[in-house]
Symmetry: C2
Subunit: 153 residues, 2 copies
């Protein structure tokens, strides 16, 4: 099940992958990786920065970008372009989709199998990446909205 993988397992598998690619397990890189494993809410580079800044004040944003690019390059992390001008990062690379709530801003994971989609039409194409996302209002926000309605009117 997506998201149910214990953090340590994902983290240790990632470090193994880094070793395999001869990428050093520097403290900074591991911090970024750790952050991605802990925060599965698809953080932006800036959110990772803010998050780690408490712990490692000298960590620069450039290092975060560098590390994220490295992780994306070797396929350990995927980018999400749901919102314009805001790249989000997802350590869960297994086949799934997303739902972005336009009220609370949360990005939900959606269990969905994308491998089989559009196989025929794209038969001559080389597919590297499949992305499905929905936009709308999540259940919780819909309920809140109705609650507020009752109060206001």
């Amino acid at each position: 099940m997506i998201g149910c993988d214990p953090m340590n397992s994902r983290y240790s598998r990632a470090t193994q992958q880094l070793k395999k690619h001869n990428i050093r397990l520097s403290n900074r890189r591991l911090k970024v990786l750790e952050c991605l494993c802990n925060k599965l809410d698809h953080p932006t580079a800036d959110q990772i920065f803010v998050n780690l800044h408490k712990e490692v004040p000298s960590l620069s944003k450039t290092t975060i970008y560098n590390t994220l690019h490295t992780l994306v390059e070797i396929g350990l992390v995927r980018t999400l372009n749901i919102e314009a001008n805001k790249t989000r990062y997802d350590i869960i690379t297994e086949d799934h989709g997303h739902f972005g709530c336009q009220t609370c801003g949360r990005i939900f994971n959606v269990n969905i199998e994308l491998e089989s989609l559009a196989k025929g039409e794209l038969s001559g194409f080389n597919i590297w990446e499949r992305n499905l996302y929905f936009k709308g209002i999540c259940q919780k926000c819909l309920l809140n909205k109705n609650k507020n309605r009752e109060v206001v009117y």
Copy 2:
């Protein structure tokens, strides 16, 4: 069939919609709309600007953004966030997906029905928008690559 609609039909339906929403059919707005109807290759705001600048040199980028926002607001145009930090605009609002070639940069339309996807899991959610995109290399670029291989090696 997607993309097979004659430009004039789509354009005139769009102007009707604008009227219906009490949005003036100014020359500038119509130029942007016309450009979107002619260029179905999912242009960016800048590409629209460059394209129209030849014809209407005094047209500002702000007006293009303003118009695009208006068109998106009333549902005549959809935004595409395939690439990071680059919003593309699509006048074809009918249900379909996209394929972005990472070699030539072209965005292909993919006939695919998205309405029925993830209905169950998102049953309590209000879905405004569904987006599916693929990344990879298109057929033509794959063939070119192989051609080059033969020459080089």
